[in-house]
């Protein structure tokens, strides 16, 4: 066990092999520290599984199961049913990438939700199959360059749209489905804590930039995630039983160029006339999402400006783990 940090459990600790500046590693560390070590984590195949369990070493400091790509939700269903049979209330959390959620894992996920298992499913959405070399996925947005959607004479990157997985989830009439990013920690914290307070299947989609696949500077992972929200391309919303119950209002809409320019996967859009058309298309997609969720006028607890605010001496850490620090980690475990 690694107990270097007295203020945090580090369920996903150091020494993992994620790339420098990995948004998914950051998101997973945030979520698992918010849920705490007293939970069972089921991990679909993907970057997170590969970089955290390497060479007979594990970066996990909580019970952790690796399933195959497609069946993480089914494994979690089984774990949850077994716990229920033994009268235990240990939380079960599934972690999967966008491949294991949008495409390959969708069937099992749908079944898990439909059967009503008490499981939190977290999708770390980095919008392509990064682990195997940046192939397009159902989550890859329109006009993105990937190794299987290269821009050229006949295309400007991926021709199709990003799959609206949240609406699919919400259509299951599930208790809680929400989106979050790594850029707004207070928002992510509120959503994880809310999800952990609800019984039944819960779904969290967390936008996690990938410096390698998105081809941006490793230092900009948080900035890019923030811009995805501020431009309206990635609305932060909460749905309960299919109804929209919360959005994060935009303090001001930024042009999508701000978001696209730092990323090499959109570089081809900034040369030539066809690219300019796609830029207008992406801007129109952002506008449509803003209209759909009323992101500019919604009456909300906080907006993209106030959710960023820093305070002297922190703005809320990992309550559950800091509690366990004061009481001694071992006692809680």
């Amino acid at each position: 066990m690694d107990k270097r940090d007295p203020f945090r459990h580090n369920v996903l600790t150091s020494g993992h092999r994620a790339c420098s500046g990995c948004g998914e590693a950051m998101a997973a560390r945030m979520v698992t520290d918010l849920v705490g070590p007293d939970a069972i984590y089921v991990n679909a195949t993907g970057c997170l599984q590969v970089f955290s369990s390497h060479n007979q070493q594990s970066a996990w400091q909580a019970p952790w199961v690796h399933s195959v790509f497609a069946n993480a939700a089914a494994v979690a269903s089984g774990v949850e049913a077994a716990l229920r049979a033994r009268g235990k209330e240990t939380p079960v959390v599934v972690q999967a990438g966008d491949g294991g959620t949008f495409d390959i894992g969708l069937q099992c996920l749908s079944g898990m939700i439909e059967r009503g298992h008490n499981v939190l499913f977290v999708c770390y959405d980095n919008e392509a199959y990064m682990n195997t070399g940046v192939q397009r996925s159902g989550s890859t947005p329109h006009a993105v360059r990937t190794s299987t959607s290269p821009p050229g004479l006949f295309s400007q990157g991926k021709q199709q749209l990003k799959k609206d997985v949240l609406s699919i989830m919400a259509a299951h009439h599930m208790p809680y489905a929400a989106t979050a990013t790594i850029a707004y920690f207070p928002d992510l914290k509120a959503k994880v804590e809310k999800a952990m307070g609800i019984r039944g299947p819960r779904f969290l989609q967390i936008l996690s930039p990938c410096p390698l696949g998105w081809a941006h500077d490793s230092a900009l992972s948080v900035t890019v995630a923030r811009l995805a929200v501020e431009t309206g391309l990635f609305p932060l919303v909460e749905l309960e039983h299919g109804e929209l119950t919360g959005v994060m209002r935009l303090a001001g809409q930024k042009p999508v160029d701000d978001y696209l320019r730092p990323q090499g996967r959109f570089k081809h859009l900034f040369t030539g006339k066809e690219g300019a058309v796609e830029l207008r298309h992406i801007q129109a997609l952002a506008d449509a999402r803003i209209r759909r969720y009323n992101l500019l006028e919604a009456d909300t607890q906080w907006d993209t400006a106030s959710a960023l605010r820093c305070a002297r001496h922190g703005r809320g850490g990992y309550v559950s783990s800091s509690l366990s620090v004061s009481q001694g980690v071992d006692n809680v475990l």
């Binding site: 150091s14 092999r17 500046g21 990995c22 390497h54 070493q57 970066a59 909580a62 948080v222 001496h313």
Partner: protein
């Protein structure tokens, strides 16, 4: 089960991902722009942080490390610190001078005593000539470090120009006296009415003291080099303010003209308004905000002082000079002004070039020339020539270009540190560690909430007398204002680097963070997302 399949929790920590790094983050305190600009080099961020935590006395002690006059300077200093404040790129600058004043006033009201660093008495004696802000600041620093200090002044009351020439509506006498008393109470020997060259000779000073600091200020007004002036109905700005501050009855005509564009001219004009006369300021420079006009220079007076003066009914005329005094017999009937193209010739001599045909008549029964003062070195001719190696230091208005009280305070501190180093036989290095600057571009301003600036209330009935114009901040406002400090380049423990490290390589500890270089991959997110620019990325060689 074979032991090879046993995988321990957290066993990945055996693998040090720090090897991958080509750049690495380093926590590095910066020296914020306010402190860089402050002529007294106060650590403004540090004392504002203490004030924000309502540790008022600790904040005052931190402030007075460099400046023993917070209540005074908070009132009269033109707060150069506020113009480069990075906060102006978010909403508006932090009201540093009001905070300084608040701490100073609180210290006087609660009778706080200065800290003494070293009470082992030393045999070395230091003489300070001039009990103005420079001399008092130097004495303060020396005496709290155990040196015996004798302070000479030709006047009977300490304070120098602060006492003799700052009008009471800007600086109430009791406030200044309170801060001076706190310094003298540390054990400074004050010899009033002692002018070097008269009551005590230069030779006696050299014999009796190991080091001498000359801070004689500028008490001699610069004469208007116009042959037509006679001394009837003509005064100097400093002479006017001094006689007013001595409480001498001043009888003014209905209309007064003040010549000059500096703060003394504005002080005189505002005093004249308080005495009930009309006043016109004749300023050869351009108004504020016009500095890019051809040949133009901005007037040197502080812009807040000018706008307050205008609000009090002072008329200002820009780019004009006095071409002639208009008399009828011995009686002054006014001044003739004309557009002035340039004031000094290309050799830097005063030689105004008026444009013919632009003359105007400004009626005035008294003209006050507030065009600068000079040091009076009479009686100190030999000492003034001596160098620091010979044990003589010089500072304050007499040698500074800016002629600001805060510069004098800073000079006093610097001289004291230099004297101590010299007396101990050590080399003198001044604040060498405080060179790293920080601009808003290195900071992430979107992480700070917007918060309006708290201003001291302006008194309503300003022209009725010499009561203070600006009121102090109430405690609640002071605390709010202190919290507005962005803490440029100095960590305020917002947890961003800790939250955002993908590798759990930032370790939170009591009172800060530590980077675990065994695991830091050098992505740079912590530096990018640090609101205050405290984290630098260095290349790993």
């Amino acid at each position: 089960m074979s032991s090879k399949l046993e995988i321990a929790p957290g066993s990945s920590t055996a693998y040090h991902t720090g090897d991958w790094r080509t750049r690495q983050p380093v926590y590095q305190n910066k020296w914020p722009p306010c402190s860089q600009t402050c002529p007294a080099s106060e650590d403004i961020q540090a004392w504002l942080a203490l004030a924000a935590a309502q540790r008022w006395q600790a904040a005052w002690h931190k402030l007075t490390e460099r400046n023993p006059f917070p209540a005074t300077m908070g009132r009269i200093c033109y707060h150069a610190c506020e113009s480069p404040c990075n906060r102006k790129h978010l909403d508006s600058a932090v009201n540093i001078h009001a905070m300084e004043r608040y701490l100073g006033d609180r210290a006087i009201a609660q009778g706080w005593c200065h800290e003494v660093f070293d009470d082992t008495a030393r045999s070395q004696r230091v003489a300070i000539v001039g009990a103005g802000p420079a001399g008092l600041s130097c004495a303060f620093q020396l005496v709290r470090r155990g040196y015996s200090v004798t302070l000479f002044d030709a006047q009977m009351v300490p304070g120098g120009t602060l006492h003799s020439a700052i009008p009471a509506y800007r600086l109430p006498r009791s406030i200044l006296a309170g801060e001076i008393d706190a310094i003298l109470a540390l054990g400074v020997e004050f010899r009033p009415g002692t002018r070097v060259g008269k009551e005590i000779s230069e030779g006696e000073l050299r014999d009796q003291f190991d080091a001498i600091f000359l801070a004689i200020g500028t008490r001699r007004p610069r004469e208007y080099p116009d042959k037509v002036t006679s001394h009837h109905s003509v005064m100097s700005g400093i002479g006017f303010l001094q006689s007013l501050n001595r409480g001498e009855p001043v009888k003014l005509p209905k209309q007064v003209a003040v010549v000059g564009g500096g703060n003394t001219a504005i002080d005189v004009a505002r005093c004249v308004r308080r005495l009930g006369a009309e006043v016109t300021v004749i300023c050869a420079q351009d108004p504020h905000g016009m500095q890019y006009r051809e040949l133009g220079t901005e007037m040197p007076a502080s812009s807040t002082e000018v706008s307050e003066a205008e609000a009090e009914g002072v008329h200002l005329r820009y780019r004009v000079g006095v071409s002639r005094l208009v008399r009828s017999g011995a009686h002054l009937s006014g001044v003739e002004i004309a557009h002035v193209d340039r004031v000094h010739d290309r050799y830097g001599h005063f030689n105004p070039n008026f444009f013919e045909g632009t003359e105007e008549f400004v009626p005035a029964g008294l003209v006050v020339f507030a065009i600068g003062q000079e040091a009076d070195w009479q009686g100190l001719e030999n000492l003034a020539q001596a160098s620091e190696a010979e044990g003589v230091w010089v500072g304050g208005d007499a040698v500074s270009k800016s002629k600001l009280a805060a510069t004098a305070v800073g000079d006093g501190y610097r001289a004291a540190m230099s004297i101590i180093a010299s007396l101990k036989g050590e080399p003198f290095v001044f604040d060498a560690h405080k060179k790293t600057n920080i601009t808003f571009r290195q900071m992430q301003l979107h992480y700070y909430p917007e918060e309006h600036r708290h201003e001291g209330e302006l008194s309503k009935d300003r022209l009725a007398g010499f009561n203070e114009v600006v009121k102090g901040l109430p405690e609640s406002d002071a605390q709010q204002e202190a919290k507005r400090c962005l803490s440029c380049g100095v960590c305020f423990e917002c947890d961003n680097c800790w939250h955002f490290c993908p590798d759990a390589a930032v370790i939170k500890k009591e009172g800060g963070y530590r980077i675990d270089y065994d695991y830091c991959k050098g992505c740079g997110i912590c530096a990018e997302e640090c609101p205050c620019g405290h984290i630098d990325m260095e290349s790993v060689v």
